[in-house]
Amino acid sequence: MRTEIRVNGVDHAVDVDTRTSLLDFLREQLDLKGSKKGCDHGQCGACTVLVNGVRINACLSLAVMHDGDHVTTIEGLASGEALHPLQQAFLTEDAFQCGYCTPGQICSAVGLMAEIAAGQPSDATADLNAKVVLTDAEIRERMSGNICRCSAYPQILAAVRRAAGVAA
C-alpha cells in the first residue's frame, strides 16, 4: 500500500505490505538498524522511536498507519558529529553494557524530556495538579517501558538525570 513517510528528515514514498510493522519497515526497507527488535510485542521498549515527537513502540504499529508522519530514530538524533545531549549523557555515565536496548532507551528518554516540558504527569507524580518535578522516582517510572537485561538501570537513571540537568 502506498505510504508517504518522513524518517530523520528524509521523505520516502513507498509501497509496503500492509503487515509490515513500522519497526520492520525502518530496519528492513530503510536499512536503519538502530531501532532494535527485542520482544516484538511492546513489552521491552527496544524498538522505541519518536513519531511526530512522541515516543511509541515501533513494533506495535503498522507502517501503513504512518502515512504523512515524521519519524525520528536513534540515527536521526545527532547533528552531524555532534551527539544529542542524551547520547552524550549515556556515554558519560556508561549507561549500557551490551548496548542492545540503548537506542530504545535514548529515544524513550528524548520523549520523556518533551513530556516533562509539556507538564504531563505519571504514576509517580504525588500531586496531579502541581508542576511535575523530575525526581528519581519519576525517571524510573517513566522509563519503565524500556527493559535492560544487563541491568544498567542505575547508570541509565544517572544519564537521564544528567541530560535533564537534575542533581543527584
Partner: protein, 314 residues
C-alpha cells in the same frame, strides 16, 4: 500475521460504510492490543479499517457540567488534561497506572475499552480457551492463572477485563456513545459495555460489527474524594491482580470480572453506616474463586475505602 486488507477511513461515514461492507473487518485505532493479538494469530481480521485519523480526539465540556472525551483521545492526552486531573483524578490515576508511556501515547480511549483479556491461557494459542476457540475448554479453571474472576464467571470462562481505565469510568457513571452504519446513535453505561461470559465467552461486548465508539461522556464528578489503588506483581508496567476506584459513595473493583465491577452491595453497606471492612465483605459474600484473591480484594477495598473517608489524595 495473516494477510489482511487495509482501508484508511476518510471520515466517520466512510468508516461505517466500510465496516458494513466487510463483516470480518475490525476498526484500528492505536493498534497496541489488536496488532499484538494479530501477531499471535489470536485475532485474524480480513480487513482493518484505520480510524486513527478521524477527528474524534478532542475533550470538551458538556452542557451538563461534565466532560466529553473523544474515542481517539490517547490515554496520555486524557490523563494529562487539566480538567481530568482536577475533577476526575481517579480517571487520571487509573490510566497512569496502566501499561508504559510508549503504549499510553498510542492507545486510544475507545481502544482501551475494546482491549481483550490478558488471561494467560487466552494469550497462549497452544492451550484450550473458550474465549479464543469456543468449545475448546477453559485452562484457567484449576490452572495457574493468577487473575481469575471473582464475580460473574461462568463454567466456560473466568477471564477478567484488563482495562484499569474502565474501572474508573464505571465508578464515575461514564457512558459510551456509539454510531452504526444506519446512522443510529446509542449510549450505554461503561459498566455494562462488556458482557459477562455466560455460554458465549468469545463475545466480549454487545457492540455490533459496524458499531463505532465516538466518545465517552463523564457526568459531573460526585461529591467526596476519589481514590485509585492497583495491586500488581511489580511496581510498574504490568496488569492488575486487583484494583479499586472509589468516588464519593461509589465503589468499583477491577480485574475481578469480565467487566469493571461496581460493588453495589458495598455501596449499600456504606450508605447504611457499615465500617469499611464490613462494606467490603458485603460484596465478597457473593464472590466465587480462590480464597487468596478474595482476601486480597478484602484488604484492598478496606484500605481504599478508609483512605477515601479520610479525604483521599488526588
Amino acid at each position: 500475521m495473516k494477510p489482511f486488507a487495509f482501508e484508511r477511513a476518510r471520515n466517520v461515514d466512510h468508516a461505517l460504510s466500510l465496516a458494513a461492507a466487510a463483516p470480518g473487518a475490525r476498526f484500528l485505532a492505536g493498534g497496541t492490543n489488536l496488532l499484538d493479538l494479530m501477531k499471535l494469530e489470536i485475532e485474524q481480521p480480513d480487513t482493518l479499517i484505520d480510524v486513527g485519523r478521524l477527528p474524534l480526539a478532542d475533550i470538551s465540556e458538556t452542557a451538563g457540567g461534565g466532560l466529553r472525551i473523544g474515542a481517539l483521545a490517547t490515554n496520555t492526552f486524557v490523563a494529562s488534561d487539566p480538567r481530568v486531573r482536577s475533577r476526575y483524578p481517579v480517571l487520571a490515576r487509573a490510566i497512569l497506572s496502566g501499561a508504559s508511556v510508549q503504549l499510553r501515547n498510542k492507545a486510544s480511549m475507545g481502544g482501551n475499552l475494546m482491549q481483550r483479556t490478558r488471561c494467560t491461557y487466552f494469550m497462549d494459542p497452544a492451550k484450550p480457551c473458550n474465549k479464543r476457540l469456543p468449545g475448546s475448554g477453559c485452562s484457567a479453571m484449576g490452572g495457574l492463572s493468577q487473575a481469575t474472576a471473582l464475580f460473574g464467571a461462568s463454567e466456560f470462562c473466568a477471564a477478567v477485563s484488563a482495562s484499569d481505565m474502565s474501572v474508573a469510568l464505571a465508578v464515575l457513571d461514564a457512558e459510551v456513545e456509539t454510531v452504526r452504519a444506519d446512522g443510529s446513535v446509542r449510549r450505554r453505561p461503561v459498566e455494562t459495555l462488556h458482557r459477562l461470559p455466560g455460554d458465549a465467552p468469545q463475545v466480549d461486548t454487545d457492540l455490533a460489527p459496524d458499531e463505532l465508539i465516538l466518545a465517552v461522556e463523564l457526568p459531573p464528578p460526585p461529591s467526596g474524594s476519589q481514590v485509585w489503588r492497583k495491586v500488581r506483581a511489580r511496581a510498574s508496567y504490568i496488569g492488575a491482580l486487583a484494583s479499586i476506584a472509589v468516588a464519593g459513595d461509589r465503589v468499583a473493583l477491577g480485574a475481578v470480572a469480565a467487566r469493571p465491577w461496581r460493588a453495589r452491595a458495598t455501596e449499600a453497606a456504606l450508605a447504611g453506616g457499615a465500617a469499611p471492612r464490613e462494606a467490603a465483605e458485603a460484596e465478597l459474600v457473593s464472590a466465587s474463586g480462590q480464597d487468596g484473591r478474595k482476601s486480597l480484594v478484602r484488604r484492598l477495598a478496606t484500605d481504599a475505602i478508609q483512605e477515601s473517608l479520610k479525604g483521599g489524595r488526588s
